[in-house]
């Protein structure tokens, strides 16, 4: 028993050096060559950081495309989902409220056009994407507030749509931050 104990302690020390020092330092070193130098890829506009490419952010003004509802209001230092169960009445009332808000700000919209991702909270609370339908239903509003041609806005969505991986695997989506940056850039 005592022999095993001493072996265990020595082995633990050796493995800590290998697994907790050497391994992550190597990954950190190699990761320094990735986009964003291992600290996460940032999005710049006019030389200023306006966000992280992978992190969704809150858009509530009508002249921007909105992202998905977030249980933590896009707090990138405290990710979480709503964890609401599918039959929870209080939760369903919140979803109904989101449907009503969308209809209020997009008066020409029919309920059946609203995709589920626009009225349900994401898993992380930081979902950077919306479905293509989720973007399309907002074209009229954004165009009206920005006094732009609807076709110009629709074209931006097409340009910012990310297609399935290798064209075959997974869903299509639109990165909301990229789309809104492109929108702001239009004004120039």
């Amino acid at each position: 028993m005592k022999k095993y104990l001493i072996q265990s302690i020595r082995l633990t020390v050796v493995l800590i050096i290998l697994l907790c020092v050497a391994y992550p330092l190597f990954v950190a070193f190699a990761g320094g060559f990735a986009k964003g130098k291992g600290g996460g890829e940032k999005v710049l506009r006019n030389g200023k950081v306006v966000g992280y490419a992978l992190l969704g952010q809150s858009f509530t003004k009508p002249q921007y495309f909105w992202g998905r509802p977030s249980a933590v209001n896009y707090n990138a230092a405290g990710s979480a989902g709503s964890n609401k169960g599918p039959s929870n009445a209080e939760y369903l009332a919140v979803v109904q409220g989101r449907v009503d808000t969308l209809l209020k700000y997009n008066p020409s919209l029919k309920k059946t056009d609203i995709p589920a991702d626009m009225v349900t909270a994401s898993g992380s609370g930081l979902d950077p994407d919306i479905s293509v339908d989720g973007a399309i239903i907002q074209i009229k509003r954004v165009a009206a507030y920005r006094k732009l041609d609807e076709r110009t806005v629709a074209k931006l969505i097409v340009e910012n749509t990310q297609h399935p991986f290798l064209g075959m695997f997974g869903p299509s989506k639109v990165n909301v931050l990229a789309l809104n940056v492109a929108l702001d850039d239009l004004k120039k």
Binding site: Q7, S8, R10, L11, T12, V14, L15, I16, L19, C20, Y23, V27, A28, G31, A34, K35, G39, G40, K48, V50, G51, Y52, L55, Q57, S58, Y64, A76, A77, G78, S79, A80, G81, S82, N83, G85, P86, S87, N88, K111, T112, D113, I114, P115, A116, D117, T120, S122, G123, S124, D127, P128, D129, S131, G134, F165, M168, F169, G170, P171, V181
Partner: protein
Amino acid sequence: MNTELLGTVATYLLTLVIAIPLGIYLAKVFAGEKVWTDFLKPIENGIYKLSGINIKEQMNWKQHMKALMTVNLVWLVYGFFMLLFQDKLPLNPDANPAMTPDLAFNTVISFVANCNLQHYSGESGASYFIQHFVFMFLQFVSAATGIAAAVVFFKAFRDKTTNALGNFWEFFVKAITRLLLPLSLVVALILAFNGTPSSYAGKDQFISLQGDTVNVSRGPAAAFVAIKHLGTNGGGWFGANSAHPLENPSYLTNTVELIAQVIIPIAMVIAFGYFIRRKKLAWTIFGVMTIGMLMLLIPMMSSELGGNPAIAKMGVSQLTGAMEGKEVRFGPAISAYWSTVTTIISTGSVNSMHDSTMPMSGTWQLLGMMINSFYGGCGVGLLNYFIYLIIAVFISGLMVGRTPEFLGHKVEAREIKIAALITLLSPFMILAGTAIAAYVFTTHGDAAWAVQPKAWLNNPGFHGFSEMLYEITSSNANNGSGFEGLGDNNMFWNVTTGIIILLGRFLPIIGPVAIAGLLATKKFIPESAGTLKTDTKTFAIMTMAVILVLNALSYFPALALGPLAEYFTLFN
């Protein structure tokens, strides 16, 4: 077939393409045969030398278990004190405070036991030092512990009659140097180059496009997320686990993380067959496990793709399926696949929030953890399966009126007693644990814990009961996922689940290894016409029947009170 389903099928097929050769490789590694990674031998010899280990020393099953328990005890003590003094340790750029004793107790057990149930949140509860030197360290060694225990079990069936089952330290170290560490490097680099942070830089702040000030948690996550999946650990760097866009940035990384968590459990089954030179047995076991997985996956996928009927009533379009708690870049199809594998193989990482999945999906997630052996965790999945197999051997033996045998060894009273005790352990802990939780919730709502019992639940009614049932089941299965709405960082949950995790980890390792060790010392009986063959279709069906009947009898009432009741309410 749409792109979401195609992605799911491709992910599984790619998993097999990697897992099967990996299994054959592992069999050779642990049998000491020549493999291409032998160039790592000097490193291993260095580790043995520095630790004072002589790998020529043969151990019997009891010595193996003593070594295993001793080293795990060392980690428990080490981790516990590190967590208690987190605030005084280095590499804490976000100034996270120390853990309370009950939280430290729960957390260290959870990581030592390969469970990774997290009652803290990654962003605010753990410094980089703790994440690497305690959590990531334990993710490596707990996975290697499970694999080493499985190899001891392999050894017992390789030779006809033997007491010498190899050296525990050798299996353990090789599991790290030949398997976990190299694969982790590959996965970590893929993640780092696809957006997961890898540098030690602390929190960042920026002003968003519409003018809000946003704080961003970051940190060297890539190395951690790799072993979290390869070792079927599942503990997230960030609170939202692999739903977090930095922990799992894209469909590609999602595929990589999914493959990473399933390859070793499948490879261990294949390795078993090649190691004991009975390939057909391994394929039979693999077949049962795969059918079991599909029986959970297909209905789970259909319930998620079907969407929430309560939201359908509002007139919203759910073309892709239920989206609450899910991420757009993954979609419901691959999220349902993830939920299935993470519950059957005891990873417990999530890319969607299980608390918000449809009621029937909750049923399948719970069942996956209750059965806990369709592929199962790193090494331990096969050990869990072996218990069902021995029960099936015993019942079949009784049916045909012969002394039950397994691989040429008589299975007698002592082995069956151990198997029966381990079989009873899970229902006992899950049902008693949930009953106690429900009792405290209903009668001691005002108890002065950090979270008062009456405020535990995030959802009312049947779903609230499911939250408690899930927490206990996940602890017992060493899974670590949760219905995360549950307010679980308080004295009651920290202590109860801590104890359940500990028992649910070590007894189901010791039990099967003991049975195998005992069988190995018995006289070898050559196969004859009267031998019950364990690698046939008939026996596979028998094993499946044992698994289904045992679990249905144990858990149906509890499932009926939780997710099933919710299902009938929602769809009525």
